[in-house]
Every structure is written in structure tokens, then in C-alpha cells.
């Protein structure tokens, strides 16, 4: 069992957990994730290891409540435990000094890009960050990102915070601004966002890394459920990734694959809502 040491609500649907996982904590690298299972009857889901404290033996997870499992997880309190946590999984992000990089986070994807941005900054890069969300509440980790970035631009679809619009608008300006000298882009967020960013940066010939949130069961290369097509060949997101060259990813296929269980997930979610008391009653 993996005890929740600290819980903090970042937005009405986004929660940060610090969880006791002493084996994983000292081994976490930027880009790694864990597979967790909340309860015995639960499913295994991948969550990015946002941070860790090797001395305290803790890891940090940030979760957006969107379906049954994530809602159940977000309803847990300090002192409660997760049934299972295994990690660190995936190939860590190769952190190198590119000179200047752009880090783009969309929604809860900002939680995934944060450890990478920090790693890039520690490696000596100038880090220019863009974080976006549908609305102001869904823009998270603004202060944390500010601490590891030369500049942070926020965008919201509805204009409730920062610039109104999507993340590709300021990114285009950054790429056009030759004085910044951006030589790599890291983009993590919803698949359509990563696709749009990759399409944009392709025109500039700037290498772009994306992190693919494919459907996984074991997370160790055993099931092949997370297979993605990259440069025309099959890769497993859990072991070959989760990061890939955004210019070579078949996003359309992955978007379709990630809808495989939409109906069943809705069913499970409805049932969950019917059997639990409304939280905000």
C-alpha cells in the first residue's frame, strides 16, 4: 500500500498528491511515469511522476478527475492509500543543453512538462514556456513553471487568463523571433494540441518532442495496447516512449485508438456517480 502524505487541490478537477513510494522516489527522472491502481477492483492507469523527494521517499502525482478511476483517486484523503504504484516506467527524457527551448503545456499536461522544463533549465537551457487551458482554472503550475523558465506565457480558450487563444499562437511568435534562438520544442497536452504544435514546428524545422498518453495496461511492454505508429513503424509508448519525435507520430491513429473505450468508460463513470454521494452537495 502507498500512503497519501499530502493532498492539495490545484483546481476544482485537478489534484496534487504526494505519495509514499520509497523505492520509486530515488529513481525518478524527468519523463518517467508510474502505473497506479487505486483499489483492488480498479484499473491500472499511467500517471506522470511530476516530482519526487528521495530523502522523504515520496513521489508527486497530479491528477485530473475525468472518469471513474481519476474521480475515485481524487476523492482520497491524506492518510488513505493507493493499492498499487509501480515505476519509474518509460524511457526518461534525454535532457541536454539545446541553448534555448520552448516548453508547451496544455491543461493537466503542464504537470507532465514541468519536471522536463526543470530538467532542461538545470541543464543550462533558456526555457521559454507557454501554458494553456480551456479556462483560467485549468491553467496549473504557473508559479512552478515561472521558477524554471525565462518567461511564461499563459493562454486560455475563453480569455479568462492571459492571452485568449491557443498555445500555438505565442509559439509561432517565439519561433519567428530569431533572437530567442529556439532550437527544440517540448509539447505535452491533449493529442490535438500536440498535433497542432508538431504541424507548426515542422515548418520551422525545429525538433519537437511530445509525450503520448496512450491506453496502457501493464506499462512494462507486455500488452502492446499502447502501440503507436512513429515514422511508419510500431512503437510501444510505455517502453519506447512515452516521448517521441512529434513530426513522425501518427496522431490521427492514436486519437482514434484512445477512443476505444469511450462508451464503456462512460458506463463505468455513470455507475460510479450513482453509487457515490454527490461531493459538492
Amino acid at each position: 500500500m502507498f500512503r497519501i502524505i499530502q493532498k492539495e487541490r490545484l483546481a476544482s478537477t485537478i489534484t496534487k498528491f504526494v505519495v509514499h513510494a520509497p523505492y520509486i522516489a530515488p529513481k525518478r527522472r524527468p519523463g518517467n511515469f508510474a502505473i497506479i491502481r487505486v483499489v483492488e477492483s480498479g484499473e491500472r492507469i499511467p500517471l506522470t511522476l511530476v516530482d519526487s523527494d528521495p530523502v522523504a521517499g515520496t513521489i508527486t502525482l497530479i491528477v485530473q478527475a475525468i472518469g471513474k478511476t481519476t474521480q475515485l483517486l481524487c476523492s482520497l484523503q491524506e492518510g488513505d492509500s493507493l493499492r498499487d504504484v509501480v515505476g519509474p516506467l518509460g524511457t526518461p527524457t534525454p535532457i541536454e543543453n539545446h541553448g534555448s527551448v520552448a516548453c508547451v503545456g496544455g491543461g493537466v499536461g503542464t504537470a507532465v512538462i514541468y519536471p522536463i522544463a526543470r530538467g532542461l533549465r538545470e541543464a543550462g537551457n533558456n526555457v521559454y514556456s507557454i501554458i494553456g487551458g480551456r479556462t483560467s482554472e485549468l491553467v496549473i503550475l504557473e508559479q512552478e513553471m515561472a521558477r524554471v523558465s525565462n518567461r511564461v506565457i499563459t493562454t486560455t480558450d475563453d480569455g479568462s487568463l492571459g492571452r485568449k487563444g491557443i498555445v500555438t499562437d505565442p509559439l509561432r511568435e517565439m519561433l519567428d523571433d530569431r533572437s530567442l534562438g529556439i532550437s527544440a520544442v517540448y509539447a505535452i497536452g491533449p493529442l490535438p494540441m500536440m498535433k497542432a504544435v508538431s504541424n507548426l514546428t515542422r515548418n520551422y524545422g525545429v525538433p519537437t518532442f511530445v509525450s503520448l498518453n496512450a491506453i496502457m495496461v501493464d506499462g512494462t511492454g507486455m500488452c502492446g495496447g499502447c502501440r503507436v505508429t512513429v515514422d511508419g513503424t510500431m512503437k510501444f509508448a510505455c517502453v519506447d516512449g512515452p516521448e517521441f519525435d512529434g513530426h513522425k507520430v501518427d496522431f490521427d491513429e492514436l486519437i482514434m485508438r484512445n477512443r476505444s473505450y469511450t462508451e464503456l468508460e462512460r458506463l463505468a463513470h455513470q455507475r460510479y456517480l450513482q453509487t457515490t454521494l454527490p461531493e459538492h452537495a
Binding site: S41, E43, P88, D218, G221, M222
Partner: protein, 486 residues
């Protein structure tokens, strides 16, 4: 004493081989309960009486772990069931599992003397009978350990190889820690073999017994990532390591359409059902997407497990697509027979060409071509050759590929000094020693894809080799100390 005990060989030979009791096919294709109930005491008695008690029991030679089969069958006849299971346990620490999933027809029963003229003794079903007797009568007690030893040994992977190695080493007195990447122990016995062939209660019980023997079990620990083999040896204080991580990486055909929704590897399909209990969705959260028409590609035991599972999940048409003919199918005969009874269709000499989907990227059909058999290939089986112009499609909404798997590369790529061979298998000598001192390997990880019992054989052999190795290390340390003080 049984009435059969005084029979002459000629009389024994006249007794027909006993069939096991089974759940009928009509019922069982709708549930996940065990297909075979095995023998009751009466049938076990009759079957045991068929054994000719050969002076040279070749059956034992046919058993990969060398069970004294003649003795245990004799004990059944004497109704000494506790003694019978003890006899088996001297050679095999997982009898309830082997009695269910071993291919006895290729091993002990294949060489049984009675089988030359008649049907062989049903050794597997007898093994299962006494193992189940032990379970229902609560006869198991952890074996006595004569000498407690200080050395720690790490076992990586809790499948049949790892469980056996752990049990054997703890009997010798070592401190054993078993690391498992998933949340439950059993490896392929847990995620691969379905409940209707191996009930989970048996697996849970074996795990409890391993614990009762003093083995520490750590789940959710992926060796290679959570800690490397090097770290286990250099920092965690393990004197030796056994690697039994199996062959978990699934192969795909590489045909167009494998990215469509509704295409599964058998590994994913079976893991969702067996490990995650997707057949109890939504009581269990893991979903599975299964249509009414399911094609399973392959001809091995995994393909058979997948297609029979699909049937139980409600597939109206469950088709096994295999590119060779029935004779070349590697699946166990008993499983093929059970599958037929359950209404599985066999589409032999058929090779999939591509998977076709609709505008939502969901599978609608499987395009195939007919094959014919040519000359034998490297495997000794006749090679399938495409028949020109024979392309045809079958309407399916789910395609499951069960065409083999290979070892997961995580350990090989994170451990120094480990030699690997074709398709990523770890190379060992015949005592399961790898190229790295102190590191041993066995089961599918070194074989590439074999059986539960061969994995157990390797686990047992590795335990003996680890014991020899640790004693020699101790001796050489003593030598050095002597020469330093001398």
C-alpha cells in the same frame, strides 16, 4: 488397501483409461469456471490400478522434473494420498498447477509402457487428484529447513520458474526475496492462463505457501527500472540473482490495420480478462471491447486460450485462423478438443493479409488468403505457401493476434555483462548460469517460449546451481582469508 492391488498385469491392461469429469460444453462456454473437475476418488483408484509398476519406470525419465511417478501412483492405490503428494513434492513444488497445465501427452504419458499397446496411464489427472486432495484436506505444511543460511538471493519474476526457484532455495535455507512487476504473483499463470484452465484460488494458495516457507514477496517492483540487477547485487546485498521474467513482449504480424480499434495482442486481451478481471466489468473497472465476431490468429496454446475466452465473453462466432494445418498446430490436443466442443471454428491453411476498418477506425473485416503445405521448413513442419488468387474476407469486429512473444528487453538492456541470443533470450549453460557470475536465468526468458514445466525444471536446476555457486564463493573467500593470515 484397494481391491485393485492384487490384479495381474494382464487384468490391469484390460481396465479402460478413465476420463475426467467435466463441465458440459453448453454450460461452460458461458462461464469462467474450471472445465475439468479431474478425478473423484473412485476414478483415481481405477486409474491408478492401470499402472503396470514397471521395474524400469520410463515415465520418470519423461518428466522434466523427474517425479517418482510409479511411487506416487502406488501410494494412491494404497489410499495413502498424503504420501503420494509428498512423493510428488520432493520433485515438484507446484503439483496442483502441473496436474492441470502440463502437456503430459508429450512427456510422462508419451513414454508410459502401457501406452505402447493401450492408452497410457492418466498420470496428469492423478497428479491433480492428489494435489487437490492435499488442498481440500489441508495437508500442506512448509518443509523443515535444516540449515539456515545468511546469503540473500533475489528472484526476479514470479511465474513458474521464479516460484519454483524461490521454493527450492528457501528449502535449502537461503533468504529469498521474490520481485514481481505486476500487482499480483504468478506471471503467465496469472495474466496468461485463463481461470477456466487454472482457477485463481490455486494460484493464490501457492503464493501463500511460498510466503509460509519464508519467502519475502515484493510486488509492484520492476527490476531494471525500480532497481537494476547491478543495484540488487551491489547495493541491496543479494549474493545471487535468478531471472525468470518470461517472454512477455508480444509479436505482431506487421500487416496493415493493426492500429485499428478492436485489434488486440493475445497478451493484452488475456491480461485484461485474467489479471484485471475485465469479464466482471463494470464491477471491475478494466473494460474490454469484444464484438460478436472474433478472429484469433495463431495455433498455439495462447491462441486456444484467447479464442475460448472470447467465446465465454459472448462472441457468437469465434474463429481460429491458422496458416498451417491442424497437424502442425502446437496447441495441446486436449485444448483443441475442448475448443471444438465449445463451438470454436477452425479456419486452417489461412493467412491474414490485412485488417480492414470503417470510418471510425474500427475493425470490420479480416482479409486472408488460402495456403497450401509445401516442403518441411527449419521447424520440421511443412511450410505454408500462398495459393494465388485465393484472397477472401471474413466479417469480424475483433482481431486477436496470438502469434508468439519474446523476452521483455528491460533487464537485458540494464544489466551489465549479460549475453543475449536470438530474439533477446538470455544465454545460459545447462546449469542455468548466465555469462555474468552470480546471475542465473531460466524459463521462457532463456528458452524463448516453452512450457510451465520446463520453466519449473529450470527454476529447480537454477536453485541447485545457485547453492553450488554460493558454497564455492564462500570457500574461495575462506581461501583468501587463510592465505592472508597465513
Amino acid at each position: 488397501m484397494s481391491a485393485f492391488n492384487s490384479l495381474k498385469p494382464s487384468e490391469r491392461m484390460k481396465i479402460p483409461r478413465q476420463g475426467s469429469l467435466e463441465q458440459n460444453a453448453g454450460e461452460r462456454k458461458g462461464n469462467f469456471l474450471e472445465v475439468s473437475f479431474g478425478f473423484n476418488e473412485e476414478r483415481a483408484q481405477i486409474e491408478a490400478a492401470r499402472c503396470l509398476e514397471c521395474t524400469n519406470p520410463v515415465c520418470t525419465e519423461g518428466c522434466p522434473v523427474g517425479i517418482d511417478i510409479r511411487s506416487f501412483v502406488q501410494r494412491i492405490l494404497m489410499k495413502d494420498y498424503a504420501g503420494a503428494v509428498q512423493t510428488i513434492r520432493q520433485a515438484n513444488s507446484l503439483p496442483a498447477i502441473c496436474g492441470r497445465v502440463c502437456p503430459q501427452e508429450e512427456q510422462c504419458e508419451a513414454v508410459c509402457t502401457l501406452g505402447k499397446k493401450h492408452e497410457p496411464v492418466a498420470i496428469g489427472k492423478l497428479e491433480r487428484f492428489v494435489a487437490d486432495y492435499e488442498m481440500t484436506h489441508n495437508l500442506f505444511s512448509p518443509p523443515m529447513v535444516e540449515t539456515k543460511r545468511d546469503e540473500k538471493v533475489a528472484i526476479v519474476g514470479s511465474g513458474p520458474a521464479g516460484l519454483t526457484c524461490a521454493a527450492e532455495l528457501s528449502k535449502i535455507g537461503y533468504k529469498v526475496t521474490l520481485f514481481e512487476a505486476l500487482h499480483a504473483v504468478g506471471g503467465v499463470l496469472r495474466y496468461g492462463i485463463p481461470e477456466f484452465r487454472l482457477p485463481r484460488t490455486i494460484l493464490d494458495l501457492e503464493a501463500e505457501r511460498i510466503k509460509a516457507m519464508g519467502v519475502e514477496i515484493i510486488t509492484n517492483f520492476l527490476v531494471g527500472r525500480t532497481a537494476t540487477v547491478d543495484e540488487l547485487m551491489d547495493e541491496w546485498g543479494f549474493s545471487a540473482v535468478f531471472l525468470g521474467t518470461g517472454a512477455g513482449t508480444p509479436h505482431f504480424l506487421g500487416i496493415p490495420g493493426e492500429g485499428l480499434t478492436g485489434v488486440y495482442s493475445a497478451n493484452e486481451f488475456l491480461t485484461r480478462v485474467n489479471l484485471m478481471k475485465a469479464y466482471q466489468f463494470p464491477d471491475y473497472d478494466t473494460p474490454i471491447r469484444l464484438g460478436k465476431n472474433v478472429a484469433v490468429i495463431g495455433g498455439g496454446n495462447t491462441a486456444m486460450d484467447a479464442v475460448r475466452t472470447a467465446r465465454r465473453l459472448g462472441a457468437e462466432r469465434a474463429v481460429l485462423v491458422y496458416r498451417r494445418s491442424r497437424q502442425e498446430m502446437p496447441a495441446r490436443l486436449e485444448e483443441v478438443h475442448h475448443a471444438e466442443e465449445e463451438g470454436i471454428e477452425f479456419l486452417m491453411l489461412t493467412n491474414p493479409l490485412r485488417i480492414i476498418g470503417d470510418e471510425h477506425h474500427v475493425v470490420t473485416s479480416l482479409e486472408c488468403q488460402r495456403m497450401e503445405l509445401g516442403e518441411p521448413d527449419d521447424s520440421g513442419r511443412r511450410k505454408p505457401i500462398p495459393v494465388a488468387g485465393s484472397e477472401f474476407s471474413i466479417a469480424v469486429d475483433t482481431v486477436i493476434e496470438a502469434i508468439g512473444q519474446q523476452p521483455n528487453p528491460i533487464i537485458q538492456s540494464t544489466t551489465s555483462g549479460l549475453k543475449t541470443g536470438k530474439r533477446g533470450v538470455i544465454i545460459t549453460d545447462d546449469r542455468q548460469q548466465t555469462s555474468r557470475p552470480g546471475v542465473f536465468a531460466g524459463g521462457d526468458l532463456s528458452r524463448g517460449g516453452a512450457t510451465v514445466i520446463l520453466a519449473m525444471r529450470d527454476g529447480k536446476q537454477a536453485a541447485n546451481s545457485i547453492h553450488t555457486y554460493l558454497q564455492s564463493v564462500q570457500l574461495s573467500t575462506v581461501d583468501i582469508t587463510d592465505s592472508m593470515t597465513g
